[in-house]
Amino acid sequence: MLIDFFAGLSFYIIPYLTGRFFTKKIFQAWVIGAFWWFILYFTIHAILGILKINSFSLVIRDLAVGISILSIFNIGYSCLRKGLKIDFKKLPIGVFLLGFTSVIYFLVWNRNTPYPLELNWDIYEHITLADLISQGKLSFFTSQISDTFTFNSYSPLFGILLSLPKIMFQRNLLGIYWWLGYWHYFLTALASYLIAQRVFRDRFLAIMAVIVSSLVFESVEVYTSLFLIPQTLVALITILVALEVKEYKKISLLITALVIFLMHYIVGPLCLLVLAVLYLAPRLPITLNFLNRMIILGALAFIASLGLNFVGRWSTLAIEEASHFDFSLAKKAGFVLDWYGFFLIFVLIGFLNILKNRNFFQKIVLILALFVSAVSFAPFSYFLKFYVLGHYLTNLIIVAGIGALVADFSFLSRTFSALWLTAVLLIVFYKNQIVYKEPLHFGNYVTQISKEEINASDWLASYNKGNSFLVSDPSTQYILEAVSGVNSQGGVYMNLRTRKTLEAINESYNSGLIKEKLLSIKDVIASDNAVGRKVLFAVGGRYFAWQRLPAYQKESTFYNIWSPRAISHNDKAYVNFLKNSQGFRLLYENSQIAIFKVL
């Protein structure tokens, strides 16, 4: 657990130490470092490919260690020369940030999810990707690295950064991710503090921004604060870059733009537009009047976007899953109530307050919040994802609304107001997370992965000699592939052909047919179908639960068995049948999973 804690930190530290050679600004250094690692990975991969040397992981590790040591020496030398400057005035806010986010994250959010269990369903595809990248399987298209990715919505940049701790510490990423979740949560709170401090120049409001950011969790499709995934990381980078974008040199701007775009091809461009506005606004002859007109235009755009929901709903991608991420306005209104309670009324107060004051920066933030919200709530599938940036912007307007009400309060009244609002938001958050976790109860834990599944994965990892191929229901494949590294056909994004093949063997007691069907399943990426592959059939509680779903749900990537399942007494009969069948040999078994080798 302790090693994973430090390994988690290296996700942030290694790119920072790399970028530190080019700039002393912390966030800028991280972005430049991330870009260099992206270039280095492809360069080393190409050189080793030409030289036909198979030691990608070793080279990357040596390079990361070398760069980190050099950079630490460089920082140490610089400190010795110029003296170490520590701003003790910032210590109390640092302690508050760490304390507040730790209490919420570990005592509320992760209360029944001990290390290394997880609540973030998306991590497994990222772990799979990072794992493959660390083995030297690299391509600009994620869909060519693993068939878990059916759509290239981002480059492998996130996977590359995630593979650094894996390569450096040679550890399974599951435990590392457990810690990364907290650091991401902490950084979103820090980013909220810094941007609020910059916008309002008021420490009380900046602290309120931390509280609002920490307790508002967009628990559907957005996940800004609690999940570290490419879309949330790109929004975080955007806010941290926004703090100092005015001072960026052209080359830094170019690198930052590339990193943001490579991090997410869909959310990234919106982030770049926001940064372009923040970069250009101080350089253009803009009047207050113009900004006020833009605010009205933004409000109209938002209203028009909501109105468009009454006209129809449109699918942006021709995939089955898209239809499930195309929510009605009533549903979206429900989500917003779940995320904010009645706090959105502060948006109205903040809107009016910013409209009538003379602060340029606040007006620009309001314009951005309105336009980002207009895009996010438009009736197109997946568009709610854009709200990942709206988290920061809307929260600032909420804080502006709170600020307008408490502006003339005494210190004591302000403190009581802050305590009252924190208590209310805590109740909102508490209920919100209860609803999110509701389908994830398993025994005394709330989790998407069980200890038995981790044990099975560990066994699989030790068994795998690089030619094993796992077949099970989509969820089991997804989780076991990520944690063990054993390949499967598509993980949770199993294609329709494989789904129908599994459907065909449901409740079949014809071992010959089962064997024939299982052996017919192939990875979409031809090179992943190793010569002499060993097909492993994992049947467990999830598999039986998935097989009991109606056919239309089994053929959809949207319906999954989200939480672990034990094997029931009735299902044990099927496991026993496989144990006694000639074409199968039991390799591993626990209370939730039995793994057979298809002979």
Binding site: D338, G341, F346, D408, F409, L421, Y430, K431, A545
Partner: protein, 255 residues
């Protein structure tokens, strides 16, 4: 003075926003499910169902399975279920509040239906007590004064009924080799009951076990309660005199 008044109004607005938020939260709290020691009890339109951690249903309750007795007549509390829910907005908010802050776990499921005599309403209150649940049925029947109520529990389809005296129960006219063998494997004494024949009155606990002999739940028997088994429907009926409008039973779910 004006400033002070304005500040008071602003303070009241802050309090009001907070209170409305809390009401919104509790009004939107999911009240159709409760979790007890890893088990889930959930209401749907037709029934209240309890599931174990592997997602298998262990028992169900419904007014479509419960009975009332009046004179010689025996009828379901509801033959047709018209509506069901989890209480009104206020009761949901209060329930959410007590569940959240006082660690209570309570589920309310109210139904409205019809039987041959007219409309009926049955409200099921499910409260967690230790490692079990207490189920209270509040019954209002139109044009009927029942003399007894049959509280039915539909048990899991692969489960069997035993008691604290190590007996295992089957419906039928006589014991056959299959039943004797099944009882022998579970080290139980087989007993045959007719569908209208009550269990012996020397038992204090009914135990529901799986085919592997593992205990799934235990139902304490209250004095004066007559128990009946309808094996083909997996239904256990606990019949009590209806001196009052509410009847209760307790079920302990086993790990």
């Amino acid at each position: 003075m004006l400033k002070a008044k304005a500040n008071i109004i602003k303070g009241l607005i802050l309090i009001a926003i907070g209170l409305i938020s809390i009401i919104v939260v509790f009004g939107r709290m999911p009240v159709s499910k409760i979790f007890i020691d890893g088990y889930k009890v959930e209401s749907s339109f037709y029934s209240v169902d309890a599931y174990n951690s592997s997602g298998s249903r262990i028992f169900s309750l419904s007014p479509l399975d419960d009975y009332y007795y009046s004179g010689k007549a025996k009828e379901h509390l509801e033959d047709k279920l018209v509506a069901s829910g989890n209480g009104n907005f206020l009761s949901q908010a209060v329930l959410s509040f007590t569940n959240l802050f006082f660690g209570k776990t309570k589920l309310i499921w109210n139904t409205k239906g019809r039987n041959s005599k007219g409309f009926s309403t049955v409200t099921y209150s499910i409260n967690s007590i230790g490692k079990g649940i207490r189920i209270t049925r509040e019954i209002r029947l139109e044009h009927v004064s029942p003399t007894a109520i049959g509280q039915s529990v539909v048990i899991c389809s692969d489960c069997m009924v035993t008691d604290n005296r190590n007996r295992i129960y089957f419906n039928g006219d006589s014991l056959n080799d299959y039943l004797i063998n099944a009882a022998f494997l579970l080290k139980k004494t087989p007993m045959i009951l007719g569908e209208n024949q009550s269990f012996p009155n020397d038992i204090s606990k009914i135990r529901i076990i799986g085919r592997d002999g593992k205990e799934k739940m235990e139902i304490p028997v209250v004095s004066g309660e007559a128990i009946y088994l309808q094996e083909k429907w997996h239904l256990l009926e606990f019949r009590v005199g209806a001196g009052k409008q509410a009847v209760s039973q307790t079920i302990y779910i086993k790990r």
